[in-house]
Symmetry: C2
Subunit: 211 residues, 2 copies
DNA sequence: ACCTGAACACCGTTCAAGT
DNA sequence: ACCTGAACACCGTTCAAGT
């Protein structure tokens, strides 16, 4: 049963292929062969490759929305925003280069945008103005996107120059001086801990707006 | 004098081409023809296209470093970090999709990394621990990257569906409900102001770490 | 040392033709 | 309605050959 190709199966296979081989290997031909079909067959279900990429983005964001809808919204704004940040990060982390590829994309689905509404409600209910609440969501989003882009870049399997990301190799590569940069490199801990600390800083900044 | 192709001229022309036509149109052939030369000629000066992209990233980051070196470092940590954030944003904004393309890239130049040193010194001098200082720089960087990615995506010249980004068209597209999302859309102001407000929130969060 | 011309394998996309 | 086979214009890259 190689047939029965559908829009959803194409998107799912595309996300699998992205994770397996990376963005450069995500070609229409490779995707089609993974689905047991010729390349032109995909053009019956999808207008072009750009529309496929848009569908992939929408799919990822729908999973974010889904995960968010399972969060208790009455937990207070700080826990709610922290939960939003963690969900967004973990969904991006599920896909190779997820943050770079799926952030800031145009959504073909209004429900992805309207899902912001309960969060605005929670924030304004806590005492933020509507403008502050909108800023808060954008700020958390921007932080997560920027953090995970850097995180996924650092963790990317690299063919060349692997010693530049080991501590000793890095110190050598940096050359003379820059002692604080080197020392900070040695202090650097787990991605989860760094994320939680930096998220805490942002939430503290938001809390300061409530005084 | 079509000849005299050099590595620097190639990178400069590539950045021009990126701004003119976008990433998809940045092909080796188009770049070569812009330099008045055949496509294979570029392979004498550059190993492959990936190396060219890396050189472009390094060039952009070198300009960030250059701009940062002209900032008064004795101005206090808060002004210094704000200046860093503004410089990073304005350099990304100089190139189409600059934040998405040039963020989180591996640098072929150690001086880009060692330039962090004076900033770590300024922050630790102000009372931050080294780990906190390192977090602070990463956090500001992540915020700027995420903010500008969204900003450049929103401002991108779009062929399709232009009314989805006008306010009336957007309200219609959103459908029933989502009143807060719509109202927030109408409140939305200039990118510069939103950037300054959100940057202020992050800096407040950092300041809270000093108590 | 630096560049050209021709070629290779591959890409996204179209389209007539099959079922 | 859904898919194939063949084709088109284009891509990154290589390589012998020119100067």
């Amino acid at each position: 049963m190689a047939k029965g190709i559908t829009r959803e199966r194409i998107v799912a296979a595309a996300l699998d292929l992205l994770n397996d081989k990376g963005m450069d290997a995500l070609t229409v031909r490779a995707l089609a062969s993974r689905l047991g079909v010729g390349a032109p067959a995909l053009y019956w279900h999808v207008r072009n490759k750009q529309e496929l990429l848009d569908e992939m983005s929408t799919f990822v964001m729908r999973r974010v929305i889904q995960a968010l809808s399972e969060i208790d919204p009455g937990a207070g704004w700080r826990d709610a925003m922290a939960a939003y940040a963690r969900v967004l990060r973990s969904e991006y982390l599920k896909h190779r280069d997820g943050a770079r590829i799926f952030s800031g994309t145009r959504f073909s689905d209004p429900s992805v945008v309207t899902a912001k509404d309960p969060w605005l409600e929670s924030l304004t209910g806590a005492g933020f103005s509507l403008a502050e609440a909108d800023d808060a969501i954008d700020l958390i989003t921007a932080f997560v996107v920027g953090f995970v882009i850097e995180e996924q870049e650092r963790n990317r399997p690299r063919d060349d120059d692997p010693e530049r990301y080991s501590l000793e190799g890095r110190d050598e590569w940096l050359g003379e001086g820059a002692d604080l940069v080197k020392a900070a490199g040695h202090l650097r801990d787990d991605g989860d801990q760094r994320f939680e600390r930096q998220l805490g800083v942002v939430l503290d900044g938001l809390a300061a707006r409530l005084r």
